[in-house]
């Protein structure tokens, strides 16, 4: 009996060890994989890793803030620890930061909700087969093809005092002044520009849904609404979630639209990116890096929460993971432990021998 007990226990540590062993099995392949991946890794480290580290380091320093007696800037940078961060949250800058934080979040929520609703509608329209579909598709996608700064300038033209917006609405609203109107103008411009992006990704999702599902639903007498909520939405959800995640991450960094359309230093539309830009523009790179780092953390947290809560399948590996899981939990146990056992026996051999 004493011999069966350890054997029964064994598989657990084995399965955790297993991946390691598998690589050692294919050591040559693993090494080749590492070799083939290394250029990508080096590039990633150079263009992503190092800049992030450099920005983090920068955020702990200040430079060029002191003037000596003859009027020259004192050279060199000084380590200040977390001072740049604490300065952001204190006093006047604190109010400004939280205002920008609120604006950023508000823009993200408002814009992404609107864009999702409109984007899905656009996708449904683009998906339908009708005459002139090509033209409709192209015209829906045009806004997405225009650079943000250019679209900001276009909207600025529309929203100026004697612009088309006022003309059509019959109003005299000064859109670029502080207040709800400037917020609204940014939301309108952003939605106009990026709803097609969601539309495009959702359209791709729609096209993967087989038509026989719909035919079956029709045969069963499902209503249009039922078909949409029970078939289209669930099946298009993975694509939609990825699109929404991308939009959230993008909108959290929103800069060009408020900056060009409304202008810098406008409380109503000031976002975190704008604060970071304004600091860097005053050659205060330390505080600018601190703002950028805070934004980075905020974006990372939001992305994490989104992925965890809604299970957005960003890397397209959900299906693989599921099949693996099934393999392990279901039939897998016996199958995996069987070839594993002798190996485990070999390594555990020493221990057994000692017994």
């Amino acid at each position: 009996m004493s011999t069966t007990a350890p054997v029964a226990e064994r598989p657990t540590p084995e399965t955790t060890k297993k991946p390691k062993r598998q690589t050692s099995f294919n050591e040559g392949t693993g090494r080749l994989a590492a070799l083939l991946l290394s250029p990508t890794m080096i590039v990633l480290i150079l263009v992503v890793g190092l800049p992030i580290l450099a920005a983090l380091r920068e955020s702990l320093y200040t430079s060029g803030q002191q003037i000596d007696e003859s009027g020259f800037i004192v050279q060199g940078s000084k380590f200040v620890g977390l001072d740049n961060y604490t300065a952001i949250f204190s006093g006047e800058t604190g109010t400004r930061f939280w205002n920008a934080f609120y604006n950023t979040t508000f823009f993200t929520v408002a814009c992404v909700v609107l864009e999702t609703v409109l984007g899905v509608m656009m996708a449904l329209v683009m998906h339908k087969a009708f005459r002139g579909r090509g033209i409709v598709r192209a015209s829906i996608l045009v806004p997405w093809a225009i650079p943000t700064v250019v679209s900001a300038l276009l909207w600025k033209w529309i929203f100026q005092a004697d612009g088309i917006a006022n003309e059509m609405l019959g109003t005299q609203i000064l859109w670029s002044t502080e207040g709800w109107q400037s917020v609204l103008s940014v939301i309108v411009a952003d939605t106009w520009k990026t709803a097609p992006f969601i539309g495009l990704l959702v359209l791709a999702g729609l096209q993967t849904i087989p038509t026989d599902v719909y035919e079956a639903a029709k045969v069963d007498g499902a209503s249009v609404w039922q078909t949409f909520t029970r078939i289209t939405m669930p099946l298009v959800k993975p694509a939609l979630l990825v699109a929404v995640l991308f939009r959230i991450l993008d909108t959290l960094r929103i800069f060009d639209l408020p900056f060009v359309l409304v202008g810098p230093n406008k409380e109503s539309v000031e976002t975190l990116s704008i604060l970071a830009y304004l600091e860097a523009n005053q050659t205060r790179y330390g505080p600018a890096a601190a703002y950028a780092t805070l934004l980075f953390i905020y974006v990372a947290v939001v992305a994490y929460v989104f992925v965890k809560l809604l299970g957005a399948d960003v890397f397209g590996d959900a299906i693989q993971r599921k099949t693996k899981k099934n393999g392990r939990n279901g039939r897998g146990r016996g199958k995996q432990t069987d070839p594993g056992a002798p190996v485990a026996g070999l390594t555990a051999g020493g221990g057994l021998g000692g017994e």
Binding site: G64, I67, S70, G71, F72, I73, Q75, Q160, A161, D162, Q172, L174, W175, S176, T177, E178, G263, P264, N265, K266, L278, N281, Q282, T283
Partner: protein, 418 residues
């Protein structure tokens, strides 16, 4: 010469009499960093130099059109201690920052004998703590554009004071042709133009933003009078509400559409408003005058560009010669003929042929001669933001002019520590 330039490029410049820069040594090809040349004439100017100096050719690095981005690129070049840019075409308000960071070389006035022939106020913009860091090549001053046809009809002369301007507008509005016209506008959107217009209002009322001693002194009755004139203007409708969104171009369009009786803008507007291709409804119906002040003549804020030598440049002797060349009477004349950019060479303003071509030259000279520089401070970006914050708050009515100025004084005092 070659040997000298090879040595002179390094850091061994102790031979010079001053702390920075030293003698300008080294000859050879140089690079000229400037904002996008919207006039199209820079190529001709540089070609003229290159044809005379085959061994010291100048190549042009065209930076973006936006001043912020030009400055950002010049700063990044300096922080890398790169010799890519030799001569920098700098906005007048950057002088203090670039000088204090030792990004540009100090110049000896004795090496630039023609300095005395330039308008003194423009030379002043190139100085930081009484030392010279650049040579002014173009200038800019505010002008009062007015509808001559309407003033003539009402039997009025162009106004010399703000008060006169207000009465003039009331009279013109009594005419059937002037019933719906807006009275006055400058640039009141929250950007650099607001700093310019606010400073003009304050200076025109006898106040200062930052005094000659370098200390902020804006919480004064004079400054209050200046700012109140603007806020009252918005309240009474003397300045149309839409003007709070005006930058140069929005204001120019409104004036060209015939919607404004008086308009404060830069000289570049003249040619555009005078265009006879139908783009301007007021071609031939307007004229220019110096800016009005509260009690007497107004005070313009000085614009323009100075050429400076990057501290890290090679061939500084060539760079200095190039600056002399570009600021020379001949080149400046050639430039204004093509581009209508305001020259810094004083006598050009009295040239009869030029005056015929550009009728605004006489008022412009008066404007520039009496013009004031914006604060010469290292943290100019922060200072101008603070000014815009206060002025915009007062103009949009979120704070009283008195509170705005008091707040601005506190803010400026903390920013300008000298």
């Amino acid at each position: 010469m070659l040997l000298a330039s090879a040595c002179g490029g390094g850091n061994d410049e102790s031979s010079g009499g001053t702390s920075t820069g030293g003698a300008l040594e080294g000859r050879g090809p140089i690079n000229f960093a400037t904002g996008k040349d919207t006039s199209g004439n820079l190529t001709n100017q540089v070609a003229a130099w290159n044809s005379q100096h085959p061994d010291e050719k100048v190549t042009v690095s065209e930076l973006p059109e936006s001043a912020d981005q030009q400055r950002a690129q010049m700063i990044s070049n300096a922080q890398n201690k790169s010799d890519a840019f030799s001569v920098l075409n700098m906005d007048v308000v950057w002088t203090a920052e670039f000088a204090a960071n030792r990004w540009v070389t100090e110049l000896q006035p004795s090496e630039f004998p023609d300095l005395g022939k330039l308008l003194p106020s423009t030379v002043d913009t190139a100085k930081y703590r009484d030392k010279l860091y650049g040579i002014p090549v173009t200038s800019d001053g505010g002008l009062l554009y007015y509808r001559k046809d309407l003033l003539d009809k009402a039997g009025l002369q162009p106004p010399k004071t703000w008060e006169e301007m207000v009465t003039a507008c009331t009279k013109v509005k009594a005419l059937p042709e002037g019933k719906n016209i807006g009275c006055y506008s400058g640039q009141f959107e929250k950007y650099e133009g607001l700093t310019v217009n606010f400073s003009e209002a304050v200076n025109g009322a006898g106040g200062v933003v930052v005094g000659d001693d370098g200390k902020p002194n804006v919480d004064t009755p004079e400054a209050l009078a200046g700012l109140t004139a603007l806020t009252e203007g918005f309240k009474t409708g003397f300045i149309p509400k839409a003007a709070i969104t005006y930058k140069e171009e929005e204001g120019r369009r409104a004036f060209q559409e015939g919607n404004l009786l008086f308009h404060r803008n830069w000289p570049y507007v003249y040619a555009k408003a005078q265009a006879k291709d139908g783009s301007s409804k007021i071609a031939g119906k307007f004229a220019v005058a110096p800016l009005p002040g509260q009690t007497g003549a107004g005070v313009s804020t000085l614009g323009g560009h100075n050429y400076a030598i990057s501290e890290f440049a090679k061939n500084k002797a060539t760079a200095a010669d190039f600056m002399k060349f570009m600021s020379s009477e001949e080149r400046q004349k050639a430039n204004i003929e093509k581009t209508s950019q305001a020259p810094t060479w004083a006598s050009l303003y009295d040239d009869p042929t030029l005056n015929k071509q550009f009728p605004y030259l006489a008022p412009l000279k008066a404007s520039i001669e009496s013009a004031k520089s914006r604060p010469k401070v290292v943290k100019y970006g922060d200072v101008t933001t603070a000014i815009q914050e206060a002025a915009y708050g007062a103009l949009t009515g979120t704070m009283t002019p008195k509170d705005a100025l008091a707040g601005l004084q506190t803010k400026l005092s903390s920013l300008i520590t000298q």
